[in-house]
Symmetry: C2
Subunit: 145 residues, 2 copies
């Protein structure tokens, strides 16, 4: 559904969000370890999220990554997905046609529209705050123990 890059990015964001709520900055090493993702690749993905102003980075000793805790409620899954994968998952044509819309639909257009709209709504209504919360409560996992 999402790219590997996006999957890593979402998991990383959730971990960073939680540590931020606890008042910590985290290093790429930690993020990679806790999300079971490759370190260097995680670093690249975090750069992307920083550029999109979804997370904050600090260089040097005691540096690392964190999220503005006040923004946790306003950062959505849609923001994360869009920053990394763009909008093709919820806006693109199901059959890959470059032009596909109501007046010039591919054969699956209207069938897919319903699902894609629901996906988009879900992404828009899911905040980083709530994802982080389920993880904090031990009700979800970011990797297998």
């Amino acid at each position: 559904m999402f790219s590997k890059t996006c999957e890593h990015g979402i998991k990383a964001s959730i971990y960073i969000a939680n540590q931020s709520k606890l008042g910590f900055r985290v290093k790429v090493q930690d993020v990679a370890k806790e999300t079971n993702s490759p370190v260097a690749f995680t670093a690249k993905i975090l750069q992307t999220l920083v550029k999109h102003a979804l997370i904050i980075s600090h260089k040097g000793p005691q540096g690392g990554f964190n999220v503005d805790v006040d923004k946790l409620e306003s950062i959505t899954l849609l923001d994360l997905v869009f920053a990394i994968d763009g909008d093709s998952i919820y806006n693109g044509c199901g059959l890959g046609l470059h032009v596909c819309n109501e007046s010039n639909p591919c054969p699956v257009h209207f069938k897919f529209k319903v699902v894609r709209d629901e996906l988009k709504t879900m992404l828009l209504n899911t905040t980083l705050a709530e994802l982080a919360q389920t993880f904090a409560e031990g009700k979800s996992i970011l990797k297998y123990a």
Copy 2:
């Protein structure tokens, strides 16, 4: 959402279905042309669909591909997608965890389950017959004119 392979495969199936209803067999060349897909790649994909008994192939002169017209109502989008991409789109974990279920969910598990279930239902309820029909009626396109 789906792989390119799958997109080509679905478009090909729709075109073949329509020609089959008209009583024709079609050659890979035709399929590729009418779906704007690469010929050799289309050939490979059709092989897969033949192996899964979703379409029928005939070698030699006057050969080509067709669909059993009596099966058009029972062949679903789910069949086509499963044959090519497997079940990961509607069964896999949204964050790529190998193990992810109700009792050991990733943070997006329950949010995604709703969407994925709707996707699966849609795929299951959409038949090749109806997709072919909208195309036959000129109400949908397989490529840009």
